[in-house]
Amino acid sequence: MATLSQKQIFKLPSCKRNDWRNALPKKYSDLEEKKIEVDCNDWSFSCRDLKQLINLLENIGIKLDKIYAKRTETVVSASSLGISAQLILPRPDLQESNQSHKDSSAENSEGILFHKGTLRSGEQIEHEGHILVLGDVNPGAQVSATGDVMICGRLMGTAHAGKGGKTSAKIVALQLRPLQLRIANQIARGPEEKPKDGLAEEALIQKGTIVIQPANSNGFCK
């Protein structure tokens, strides 16, 4: 079958078995591509598990290009290994009903992606939903989200909030001195002067342009 993308996605079955290794296919001959994406489903992969998976695939000449996962742990492990990862949350109607807001608008069904640790030059995280980084985003690193980008640390790289067009998205950081900011389809260079320390700032679109202002006290890491 002709696929739109040139990559093949390999989906792990739901995690009923005790070890993900048992869930891998016995032979890989049906994987023709040199790069694949793996859907980790509801398995929780530690960095070590992921590294083993990468090695397994590498031994047969296949590069792991991206993973999808339902568990944030897996996404965090992947991001810290520099693999692009995407969190897939179960559809709200399938979730347990202890959630207060059951309003099924696309926005509420989006999850928050947590990333703990500094993102270094060349590293990148991308997520459908909000992103919360606990650490710095160094020059040359990139964060992009369809929702808000929140950084409990210094933003010195590039951030894109509202990717896909959401103009109400914002970027919040404890220190906002990015190389470049993008919100929805707007692009702005970072400010020349350094911000004052200890003052969280946010960037958002006002009257069609990106402005930076002191962060609203309830806007950060809420």
Partner: protein
């Protein structure tokens, strides 16, 4: 593998920031302190560690022949002519660019680890295969950078990659520091660099013309017992690596002539 051998990768990302110079000087300095040290030239596409150590004309074999078992390890090791605790091993031959794989690297390093206390691996520039091979056998790393935005950016990238390989600890050496330029804010300060890279600072190395002179002679500064600023810095890096607690030099107090120092002293006395 001998349990106590320290296998240290010396890398930078950006080319020409001083990896090979550091490897050579550190190798000599450690050897002088009495520890058996091997320097492995993993940058064999453009190998020049042998040049800096003045050993170019003594190379007969490389790690390649050792692994193929056409020679023994001690035949391939080139002992330094004046510092017998130091030996050089070229990882490969410039003609065999794609020969070395991570596996080979690990095998050769574990052979070295049986004979030496330190194995220093001079890494090629870049973050591609050459870097990955060199890094595959390392346990810890020294990232070297200069106070320039591009070098710092590349160092940051390399640190990110080292983190994914569980190489620990990763320490920083800041090379080619020019106190005058820092004072006039024409150069990133030490803080600017450590602020971004967030690594423990193993040492600063001052910009020093003597480095170039010694390179051309094939005699690392630390070998000749030179009192030049960089020689002192390299010596300190080696001693800190060995666990000695030596304060960092203060760039704002360096690089002044005796007369300047005297004048400053006077100034502080008077006011």
């Amino acid at each position: 593998m001998a349990p106590n051998t320290r296998i240290i990768l010396i890398c930078s990302g950006k080319g020409g920031v001083g990896k090979t110079t550091l490897t050579a000087n550190l190798g000599i300095a450690l050897a002088q302190q009495g520890v058996k040290t091997a320097v492995l030239d993993a940058d064999f596409g453009l190998r020049n560690l042998d040049l800096l150590l003045g050993l170019e004309n003594r190379i007969v074999y490389t790690a390649q022949e050792v692994l193929e078992e056409t020679c023994r390890l001690d035949q391939a090791l080139v002992k330094h002519k004046r510092e017998s605790n130091l030996a050089l091993l070229p990882a490969g031959n410039p003609r065999m660019l794609d020969w070395l794989k991570p596996d080979d690297m690990q095998r050769i390093v574990s052979m070295l680890a049986e004979k030496f206390d330190y194995v220093l691996i001079d890494c090629p520039a870049g973050v591609e295969d050459g870097f990955k091979n060199a890094a595959s056998a390392a346990q810890e790393a020294i990232v070297i950078t200069t106070p320039e935005i591009s070098a710092v950016r590349d160092a940051d990238r390399v640190i990110g990659l080292l983190n994914t390989k569980s190489i620990k600890p990763i320490q920083l050496v800041l090379n080619r520091v020019r106190p005058k330029m820092i004072a006039s804010q024409e150069m990133l300060s030490v803080n600017d660099v450590t602020d971004i890279l967030a690594l423990p600072l193993l040492g600063l190395v001052l910009e020093d013309e003597q480095v170039i002179v010694s390179t051309n002679r094939g005699e690392p500064l630390t070998l000749t017992g030179s009192k030049s600023p960089a020689a002192r810095c390299y010596g300190n890096v080696a001693r800190r690596l060995q666990g000695e607690d030596i304060p960092l030099i203060d760039p704002s107090k360096e690089g002044q002539s005796l007369r300047d120092k005297f004048r400053r002293l006077m100034a502080t006395k008077i006011f």
